[in-house]
């Protein structure tokens, strides 16, 4: 778990969840991350949202595409390491211009203790850009809700693939 370096001032996981609800997201799929823990719990506790745990992150891209084909909006929650697992599956989004929204909790960029997190964490913005995803970065909890709102509009109204990168500075330092 993380220390509540910034969470004390604003309940940003709740703000993000409310923004996803407002954007009519009906399916939330995820590979767990400590930074997403509250959001995942809120999703599971909400009967109007179908919440699915994945064995690997790229599954979530295919599920999100299927959801859109069936008239539902989905969001994928993952950690920065998961972005690397998604690379080829991102081509599904580009080939069909599927709307896609993912929330990525960042590692390897702020006070990182584990050097194994750094290579993929540092590569996330380029990896997203390389595969045609737009990225929005959130460094301040105050911006969380409006960033999700903006990303959801880009994704679901303009048929874009969008990754919201939740910075490690905002998430707080992991306790070891």
């Amino acid at each position: 778990m993380y220390t509540d370096a910034t969470q004390g001032t604003l309940d940003w996981p709740l703000a993000i969840f409310e923004s996803l609800k407002k954007a009519k997201v009906r399916q939330i799929v995820y590979v767990p991350d400590a930074g997403h823990a509250q959001l995942i719990e809120m999703a599971h506790n909400d009967p109007s949202i179908t919440t699915t745990v994945l064995t690997t992150e790229e599954e979530g891209i295919a599920i999100a595409a299927g959801a859109w084909l069936g008239g539902e909006r989905a969001a994928l929650l993952m950690q920065s390491s998961g972005v690397g697992n998604c690379i080829n599956m991102f081509s599904l989004l580009a080939s069909c211009r599927f709307p896609f929204l993912t929330l990525v909790t960042m590692r390897g960029e702020w006070s990182e203790f584990n050097p194994w997190q750094i290579p993929m964490g540092q590569a996330v913005p380029q990896a997203c850009e390389m595969m045609g995803l737009q990225t929005l970065r959130v460094d301040d909890p105050v911006d969380a809700a409006k960033s999700i709102d903006a990303a959801a509009t880009l994704a679901f109204e303009s048929d874009r693939s969008v990754a919201v990168l939740l910075s490690q500075k905002m998430l707080g330092r992991k306790k070891w």
Partner: protein, 198 residues
């Protein structure tokens, strides 16, 4: 491994034709390669979504669709190589248990698109046993009577998700190619369901 395609097993086109007979309101997702060609060869439909890439994703596109459309039966038709690449997805499907989803693997034990190299199923792995262990309603089908029996379960909307290994011969029939335009395929599928196109 040396490619040694077996001539045993069902003719894939005949099997798919029998499977899709009287399909009515079934929504169909196909895995890249031959299953896409097989389903198109049997007859195009706005209710077909053909994958030309996204290897490993077919059954999961089916899952997202089945969860979004619980009143419509969803059928995924894919190949052994495609399903093997997304093998964990069978476990994800098993956790959600959508009763309106069926996954059918046309299993010839080979990678047909790339020169008939042996796949893991050709080396002895049984996908239906993995699916069974995960809690899906899993069967192995070796004859046309089995296909007819499977067909009668495809419109179910409840119970366990169904999974079938269909043993087909390792032959590449003449390619019959649907559109490769993903945006077109997406939009016509949504229009079929009465959904708005952005």
């Amino acid at each position: 491994m040396t490619a040694n395609p077996t001539r045993e097993g069902l003719d894939r086109r005949s099997a798919v034709q029998e499977l899709l007979k009287e399909r009515e309101n079934i929504l169909v997702v196909t895995g890249l390669g031959s299953p896409t060609y097989d389903v198109f060869a049997v007859g195009d439909s706005d209710a077909n979504f053909y994958l030309w890439g996204a290897m490993g994703g077919a059954a999961l596109v089916g899952l997202g669709l089945a969860l979004a459309q619980p009143q419509r039966p969803v059928l995924v038709i894919t190949g052994d190589g495609e399903q093997l690449m997304g093998i964990g997805g069978l476990l994800t499907i098993a956790t959600k248990k959508p009763g309106n989803l069926s996954v059918v693997v046309l299993d010839n034990g080979h990678y047909g698109e790339t020169g008939m190299q042996l796949s893991h199923t050709g080396l002895g792995i049984d996908l239906h046993k993995i699916a069974d262990a995960a809690g899906l309603e899993a069967t192995e089908i070796k004859d046309m009577a089995g296909i007819a029996g499977l067909r009668r379960t495809l419109k179910h909307l409840s119970g366990k998700p169904r999974f079938a290994t269909v043993r087909i011969s390792a032959e590449n029939p003449k390619r019959v190619l649907p559109s490769r335009d993903g945006v077109y395929l997406k939009n016509r599928f949504r229009a079929h369901l009465g959904l708005a196109v952005n």
